[in-house]
């Protein structure tokens, strides 16, 4: 397994929408490299013929369908009341005219 460089940390930080100063970048590079080195332990395992586990109850989808032959978890498409707009906007940092306000993304000069 590859290790991680300062450039790599900068790239990943951008993907994760985080930003670090130079000292933090160096600090994280060092720590992540050490953690990844430990994780490299997984290379000892022969896994070519091993299927991955993403979920512990693969039969789940059948159980949830409940009726015989049902093979997926889709619920009936019924309209139900949602939360009132005010309740949803109550936690918004900058609500604006009933919407979530964000910094301008469209340049008005165009």
């Amino acid at each position: 397994m590859a290790t991680i460089t300062i450039e790599g940390v900068r790239h990943v930080a951008n993907l994760a929408r985080l930003e670090f100063n130079d000292a933090e970048t160096e600090h994280f590079t060092e720590q992540l490299a050490r953690i990844l080195d430990y994780i490299g332990k997984l290379n000892e395992l022969e896994t070519d013929d091993v299927p991955p586990t993403s979920h512990i109850h693969p039969h789940q989808v059948f159980i949830m369908g409940s009726q015989e032959g049902a093979a997926h978890v889709a619920k009936a498409d019924v309209v139900k009341p949602s939360y009132p707009r005010e309740a949803v906007l109550a936690n918004a940092p900058e609500p604006e005219e009933g919407y979530f306000g964000v910094p301008r993304v469209v340049d008005r000069s165009h």
Binding site: V9, L36, L45, P93, F100
Partner: protein, 493 residues
Amino acid sequence: MLCELTAHALHEKLKNREITAVALAESVYARIDEVESHVKGYLTLTKDLALEQADRADAGFQKGDEMPALAGIPIAIKDVICTKGVRTTCGSKILESFVPPYDATVMTKLYEQGVVMIGKTNMDEFAMGSSTENSAYQITHNPWNLDTIPGGSSGGSAAVVSADTAVCSLGSDTGGSIRQPAALCGVVGMKPTYGRVSRYGLVAFASSLDQIGPFTKDVTDCALLLNAICGSDAMDATSVDVPVPDWTQSLINDVQGLKIGVPKEYFTPALDPEIADSIQRATAVLEGLGATVEEISLPHTEYAIATYYIIAPAEASANLARYDGVRYGYRNENPENLINMYKKTRSEGFGEEVKRRIMLGTFALSAGYQDAYYKKAQKARTLIKSDFDAAFEKVDVIATPTSPTPAFKIGERTADPLQMYLSDVMTTPASHAGLPGISVPCGFVKSGLPVGLQLLGAPFAEEKVLRVAYTFEQNTEHHRRKPQIQTNGVVSS
């Protein structure tokens, strides 16, 4: 003091009208006044709400109604579970002022029982940690020794039950976050099978691992809380629609004929010798009561931590993408543009451990590395799960230490994240396999700190786990010992 008693003992007193729920709630708040400034287990106290709920429970008892087992019982809730109208921070600055517009399914179920919510408990930020030192707000102190950590991430929920500032509590367990703090604080803590309890309203950390569960003063209370919170839920597609038995029926004081496996891989040089002794004595007790105890092997145990620190951060990096400052939570006030707002908001709002795991997870899922890390870890997860599948062909329950060491000193492991991660070595394997697991008090090391015995069952075999835990408890006295909390040099027991 009333707040020292178990929920089932209190229920009898409430039912017989020996006490009122209001007096019980007052007793808990009086205890909070006495020791909370030293323990620091709570982030928010909800006294007005609690007294209202207690009043309602009293009205029911006075009318002579048939009241649920948890009516009027004071409970604390980990601050990662959404409570309508009550601030829910996840121990993070980014959710400092977040007030959920809805209740988690477990809260709806508990309110139907008529519980009294005392407050919301401290935790590692977004449940990422093993000591509760990653909270953005405060450090919780272990009631058994205030210089030590209570474990984590549900350290607050464990400490308040141990300190009698709550009768019981809820926590969440992703890689051991209920079982490990229960062990370090000398209380009972259980993670049910993945899918037993709805995760609706549990703020997501690692969705394929997260599960809600109880902290209690004994195994009987654990069964009562499971009765209240288990069951499938249309709001959580990963909750499983299997019958939920009355768990109190599993409280059978008899282990004759049960096979208990002790995995040799858990007894490494990293295991504190005093804890190894304590576990050996505990399994000897069970053997003396008629269980068959045999050594088993779970050969992939040593890969569990490496696997966990890929899978959990990978899922976390996706789950935590929602904290962007747009719809709720903290937002940076002077962004240059939208992308810059996301970056500044997240960099200022998240603590260091959360950033470290987002970075680790984003890296493990990034182009060119996904197969080498994420997929490799998912395959290792299969191997770990297969070990357990094979073991449960031969034994009913697996017994191990819950934590390799007793509670460690505050600050001791914060400088070295990898060292902190290794605290979870005994609990993460069962998390990968989604197994039910309980930690029960099984002794004390010479310094006076408690030791936990972890009992694991096959998926949905909680009944056997509870039966062994109950039998052990009924035949030992460890769970009766209470911490002596040092308040300004004055011992407060």
